[in-house]
Symmetry: C2
Subunit: 342 residues, 2 copies
């Protein structure tokens, strides 16, 4: 492979001149610029990114850590959407994306640290936030640049972009109440994730605000899988006073609940209302079409990337935090109850 040296020789200039035309310096005569360009072309020269990185001390790459945890369930479209958002920003800045994704949380953690410490990446976007995780503290201590999609419980100075999950839970529950349902249960996700806790909080808030009583038997955990949700829903329906509406913490779980309800011979939304969260493609394809709270995943990616870019360029040091709202999407699984009971 030809190097800058070869190009320089061929064009009859020095390597710094070649370097300058590559980086688009302005103080270069049009003539030499042309000559160098020609030489590069003739030799089929392409600058070596590794050498550039070493000399310029920037990798030009940022890491994306995607937990394969059920939190970002792969049946839904979180993953491609968030990448699309991130990519739309990074490509403008000429950054590449290094993907860190593994089945093993320990390996994930190790690889994230390694990539950052070895300066293989200039910064990272991390998409998981467990309740107890010391990774962030380490990263902060080491002054690594990163942005979290999610949030932290303690007051660590980290930048993050989150959707307002308390509000998401509130909106979903509130909608069911307004639609006329009165015994509203929640099928929650794995409580080791902050997102789960937040949505539960929103659920409770809406319940109490409506003057309803919070029943602990109406709050069940199904760990973000469809099967667990179906089972959990069966149990709910078998209660002495079964719920007349289900708020599932995501659409996949909602689909499990729908299945349990239909199997038991009840109708949706007449007998039982259902609402999920995410608005993944599944939601609109289901029958009945699923009401849900849409999460702006693409936007989460965009903002995470923007904030990281700022962190990297400005040397900005105060953490920035953003919270994006969800949107209620009413479909068949909940909308008409009001009509029936009214």
């Amino acid at each position: 492979m030809p190097t800058m040296k070869d190009v320089a020789r061929r064009a009859g200039v020095s390597v710094s001149t070649v370097s300058r035309v590559i980086s688009g310096s302005d103080r270069i005569s049009a003539a030499t610029k042309e000559r160098v360009r020609a030489a590069m072309k003739e030799l089929g020269f392409h600058p070596n990114a590794i050498a550039r990185s070493l000399a310029s001390k920037t990798a030009g790459t940022i890491g994306l850590v995607v937990s394969r945890s059920p939190e970002n369930a792969f049946a839904n479209s979180f993953f491609p959407e968030v990448i699309r958002g991130i990519g739309s920003v990074l490509s403008k800045h000429g950054y590449y994306l290094l993907l860190i994704m593994t089945d093993d949380p320990e390996v994930e953690r190790a690889q994230t640290l390694a990539a950052l410490r070895s300066r293989r990446v200039d910064g990272a976007i991390i998409t998981s936030s467990r309740v107890s995780d010391t990774l962030f503290r380490h990263l902060v201590d080491e002054k690594q640049k990163f942005v979290l999609i999610g949030r932290v419980l303690d007051d660590l100075p980290v930048s993050y972009v989150d959707n307002d999950n308390v509000k998401v839970g509130y909106m979903a529950t509130r909608h069911l109440i307004e639609a006329g349902y009165r015994r509203i249960a929640m099928i929650s996700g794995d409580p080791q994730y902050i997102v789960s806790l937040d949505r539960i909080e929103g659920y409770k808030k809406a319940i109490s605000e409506a003057g309803m009583e919070f029943r602990k038997e109406y709050l069940v955990n199904a760990g973000f899988t469809r099967e667990a949700a179906e089972e959990a829903c069966q149990k709910l329906l078998a209660l002495d006073q079964p719920p007349d509406a289900i708020f599932a913490a995501d659409d996949t779980m909602a689909s499990g609940a729908v299945r349990a309800i239909l199997k038991s011979g009840l109708r949706i939304p007449e007998d039982v209302g259902v609402i999920g969260v995410n608005d993944d493609p599944l939601a609109s394809m289901m029958r009945p079409a699923l009401s849900t709270v849409r999460i702006p995943v693409f936007e989460l990616g965009v903002w995470a990337a923007r904030i990281l870019m700022d962190l990297l360029s400005d040397g900005e040091t105060v953490p920035r935090q953003m919270v994006l709202p969800g949107t209620l999407v009413v479909r068949e699984s909940s909308s008409t109850r009001g009509l029936f009971s009214a």
Copy 2:
């Protein structure tokens, strides 16, 4: 950040010695090894990956090019599954994954070439194969290392891993025939992708093999989207002699067909049978549950990565090509027709 030089000074050895303990050379006394390790720890030293790459002339990273084309529709699980497969192999070899994914095919192409030429990646796995694409020819000419998931039409010497799409089309169609359907239509994907052509070929083969007549009005193109498939299916149902079964080139399109059929008041599978391809999560969640041909996406990723590793290590030069079979998965949307007509 401390460098090897700092470690060397602290341990009272030379940099080459430090380098040796890092790379795990054996001709190092246990004592110095210990001393160096201690020094690294005390200083919080982590080797700089970029510098290593420059000196060793390997990036330690491979590129994954994912077309956001409808071919790998994002409603389905192709993307995460193939990455999971690739990752399971790469992590064993200590390689990282650089993700190249953009909305614009031209940008995608440019970035792929740039990453390879700049030696930012040692090789690439490419997941799209359009009928007319000169990218592969360029890559071959430049002796770049890459593996294709898909296949090429001409006899370019490229390594690839593909699923046997002719057979996939054949199996799906054949199943419908055996289930008792007699007027079988196909809703095909975008014909600019080789995968589409192959599945059509399989469809035709099964039709003619069964002594049925191929009707061109039964073969329609719906470009891999659900909406287009729904519309296409409506038109099929409006024919003078409407089909009694639909083979859709993927599950997403099949879901569109299902919708059109149910809307028209027909029953599935009694009046019309439906089968898709992929077996993404959607298929089992739909009602009626969708029959489909499962594609071994994880395995495609595994093999692509394995072959690429061989290409990179052995300096292997003869292209390797693999074809993986699909599996028929019979569910509610097609299984019982035989019983009715029998």
